[in-house]
Amino acid sequence: MAKWSMVIDLEKCVACQGCSIACRFENNTPVVGPDQALMGRAMRWNDVFPLPINADEDTGEYPNVTSRYIPRPCMHCENPPCIKVCPVGATFIDNEGIVEQNYARCIGCRFCTVACPYGVRYFNWLEPKWEAPLGEHLNPDRVEGEGVLEGPVVRPRGIVEKCTFCVHRLIKARERAEAEGRDFRADEYVPACVQTCTGKARFFGDLDDPASTVSQLAKSTRAFRVLEEVGTHPKTIYLREG
C-alpha cells in the first residue's frame, strides 16, 4: 500500500503561486471577490505566504533583512487533528494516507477548521459563483460513491473543503492503468500543483518505497516538517533553504 507524500524544496520555490492557481483550476475552488477576500475568506487549498506569519517576529533590520515564503498544501498528517474532531467522519484518511473530505456528509460545524494547526481547511461561507461564462472552465471530474462525493465537483455553501492531494488524479491514473491492462505505477499520479511548479520545487511519490524521490529527499538533512512538535506527523515534508 502506497503512502503518498509531497516534498517541497524551499530553496527552489520562488513563491510564484503557480501551485495555488493550478490547484484552483484543477479543483474548482472559487474566486471569492474583493470584499470576501478582505475578510480572509479567500479559498486557496494551496496557499503561498511570507514567513513568519506574524509581524512581531524578528526578521532583521534593514539592510540585513531575511524574507521567506512558504507554499502550503494540506500536510496530510498521519495523526490529523482535523479527522479526530469531526463529529460525522466527513473528513477521513484513506489507507494510502490521503486525508480526504466527503462533501456529501459534512455538516459545516467547522470543528476541523479550528483544529487543523495549519489553516488548511476552507469553509464555503457563501455559494460559490462564477460570473458567466467564467464557469465554463470548471473541471468536470467528480468522485462518487454511496453517500460520498469528492473531487473537483463544485462544493455547495456551508461545508468544508481542502487539499485532497488531487485524489481524483490517483483514481483516474489507476482506472487508466486498469483499462490498459497493466500495473499502475506511482509516477503516473502527480497532483496539479506538483505538475505546474515553476521552480520544480515540488516532488510527489510513495514514502513507503525507499527508492522513491520523496523517500530519498525525506532523509535529507534539510528535511523538516512544519510544527513537528504538535505531533501531527505531516506527510508534506519541506526542505529548508541554504
Binding site: 474532531v85 460525522v88 459545516g108 483544529a115 461561507w125 456551508g158 461545508i159 468544508v160
Partner: protein, 436 residues
C-alpha cells in the same frame, strides 16, 4: 374524583401563588417585546439560512465567534440551577430551598438556547441528522452532544419531579384560572396526592438524582471545554481548561440566580419569601467563586507567560495588550475587581449592590467566553492571516440580533413560566425554619 390531597402548610402560599393567578396587560406587553426581539433574530437567521454563514463576520481563521460564545455561555448559565439545588442539597445547605426552583428554571431554559446556538452555527443545519447517522464518538462534539442532552433530560426530570407537589397544589387551589389551565395542572400533577410515602420517595429520588446531577454538572462543562481543549491550538490546549470552564460556569450561573431572585422579589413582592439573608448566603458563595476564578486565571496566565512558548504568547498578548485588550481588562474589572469590592464592602444586606455585581459578572463572563474562543483563533500558528491583514473578527448584525434573541428567548420562557407555576417551591419552603 380526586382523593383529598395533603399539602404541607406554608404561610407564604398566597404570596407565592399571587403571580400565578392571572396574566396582566403588562405581562402581555413584555411578552410581545420579547417575541419582537426574537422575531428579529429569526429574520436574521433566515437571511443566514438562505445566504449562508457568509452573512456573519466569521472568517478564516476566526471560524467560531458569537454563536459558539453563546453556546458556552448558555451552557454555563445552566449550571446555576443544578449547582444550587443539587450540590447545595447534597451539602445540606437548607437556606437554598426558596431559590432552588428559580435557579433550576434558569438551567432548564438556558440549555435549549445553548443547543440552539450550536445549530445556528452549523453550515448545513439541514444535515443535522448526519450526527445520528454517522456520529463518531471520537469527536468531542459528540461527547458534548451526549453530555448536554443527558443534562437537559435529567434537568427536566429533576425539575419536574420537584415541581410535582406544587403543580398539585395549583390544581387544587387555583380554581378561578381558565379551564385549559386547570386541565394542564391536572395532567401534569400525575395524580399527586402528597400522602403516605410520596414525599419520602420524592425526597429520596431528589437526593439520588442530586448525586447524578452533580456529576453531570462537572462533566458537562468540562466536556464543553474539551471542544477547545482537545485541539492543539495555543491558549486552548491546556488541562486546566476543564476546571476553568466549570468554575466559570458555576460562577456565572450563581450570579444569574442573584439577578433573577432580585427581580422576582421586586416584581412579585416576595420580599418575605426571598429574604435578604438569601442574598447574604449567595454573597459568601460568590466571594469564594470570585477568588476561585482569580485563582484559575492566575494559574492559567502565569503558567503560560512564564513558559512563554511563543505561539501561546501571541494569544496572551492579544488579550493583554492586543486587539482584545479593552475587552480583556473590562472582563477583569467586571468579573473580579468590581464584584469583589462590592461583595466585600457594599453587598452585605444590599440586594441592589448584589444585583449590580451579578450583572457585571455575567457581562464579564460572556466576554470571558468570547475571549477564550476568539483571540486564539486570531493568532493561529500557521495560517496566512497576514495575507488579508491579520485575523480579526467583527460580528455582523445577524450575529448580534441572533444573540439578542437567544437572551430574549430565555427571558420569555422564564417570565411565562412564572405566570403559570410558582417560582418558589411551596412544599420545600414549608418545612424550612420549622425542622431546624
Amino acid at each position: 374524583m380526586l382523593p383529598t390531597t395533603f399539602h404541607p402548610q406554608n404561610n407564604n402560599e398566597a404570596v407565592i401563588l399571587a403571580p400565578v393567578h392571572r396574566v396582566t396587560r403588562k405581562d402581555l406587553l413584555l411578552w410581545a417585546v420579547l417575541l419582537g426581539i426574537m422575531g428579529i433574530g429569526v429574520y436574521a437567521y433566515l437571511t443566514q439560512w438562505f445566504t449562508g454563514l457568509g452573512v456573519t463576520g466569521l472568517n478564516r481563521p476566526v471560524y467560531w465567534g458569537f454563536y459558539i460564545t453563546n453556546f458556552v455561555f448558555f451552557i454555563g448559565l445552566a449550571h446555576s440551577g443544578t449547582f444550587i439545588s443539587a450540590i447545595l442539597r447534597l451539602a445540606g445547605a437548607s437556606w437554598r430551598t426558596p431559590l432552588t426552583r428559580a435557579a433550576e428554571a434558569i438551567t432548564l431554559f438556558s440549555l435549549p438556547f445553548g443547543v440552539g446556538a450550536i445549530l445556528i452555527d452549523m453550515g448545513r443545519p439541514d444535515r443535522v441528522m448526519n450526527i445520528f447517522f454517522y456520529g463518531r464518538f471520537q469527536s468531542p462534539l459528540l461527547w458534548d452532544i451526549t453530555a448536554v442532552s443527558l443534562y437537559l433530560f435529567s434537568s427536566i426530570v429533576f425539575f419536574y419531579i420537584s415541581l410535582l407537589p406544587d403543580i398539585a397544589l395549583c390544581r387544587d387551589r387555583l380554581t378561578e384560572v381558565p379551564s385549559w389551565q386547570q386541565k394542564m395542572y391536572k395532567i401534569l400533577a400525575l395524580g399527586w396526592t402528597g400522602r403516605g410515602e410520596q414525599f419520602k420517595r420524592l425526597e429520596r429520588a431528589l437526593d439520588n438524582m442530586a448525586i447524578f446531577m452533580t456529576l453531570l454538572v462537572v462533566t458537562v462543562h468540562t466536556v464543553v471545554s474539551w471542544v477547545f481543549g482537545m485541539t492543539v491550538q495555543p491558549g486552548w490546549h491546556t488541562a486546566l481548561i476543564g476546571p476553568f470552564f466549570l468554575v466559570g460556569a458555576i460562577f456565572s450561573g450563581t450570579s444569574a440566580v442573584v439577578i433573577v431572585l432580585a427581580i422576582l422579589r421586586r416584581v412579585y413582592h416576595m420580599e418575605k419569601v426571598l429574604p435578604v439573608s438569601l442574598f447574604n448566603s449567595l454573597r459568601k458563595l460568590l466571594i469564594v467563586f470570585t477568588v476561585a476564578w482569580l485563582y484559575m486565571m492566575i494559574a492559567e496566565f502565569l503558567t503560560t507567560t512564564y513558559g512563554a512558548i511563543s505561539d501561546e504568547m501571541l494569544v496572551v498578548w492579544q488579550k493583554f495588550t492586543g486587539d482584545f485588550a479593552v475587552l480583556f481588562w473590562t472582563m477583569a474589572l467586571t468579573v473580579f475587581v468590581l464584584p469583589l469590592i462590592i461583595f466585600l464592602f457594599l453587598g452585605k444586606d444590599h440586594v441592589g449592590w448584589m444585583v449590580v455585581a451579578a450583572i457585571l459578572i455575567n457581562i464579564g463572563m460572556w466576554i470571558e467566553r468570547f475571549l477564550v474562543i476568539v483571540p486564539t483563533e486570531t493568532r493561529p500558528r500557521f495560517v496566512s492571516t497576514l495575507m488579508e491583514g491579520m485575523g480579526s473578527y467583527h460580528p455582523s448584525w445577524q450575529e448580534i440580533a441572533i444573540t439578542g434573541s437567544l437572551f430574549a428567548g430565555l427571558i420569555l420562557l422564564y417570565v411565562v413560566f412564572t405566570r403559570f407555576f410558582p417560582i418558589v417551591p411551596i412544599w420545600e419552603t414549608a418545612h424550612s425554619g420549622e425542622t431546624k
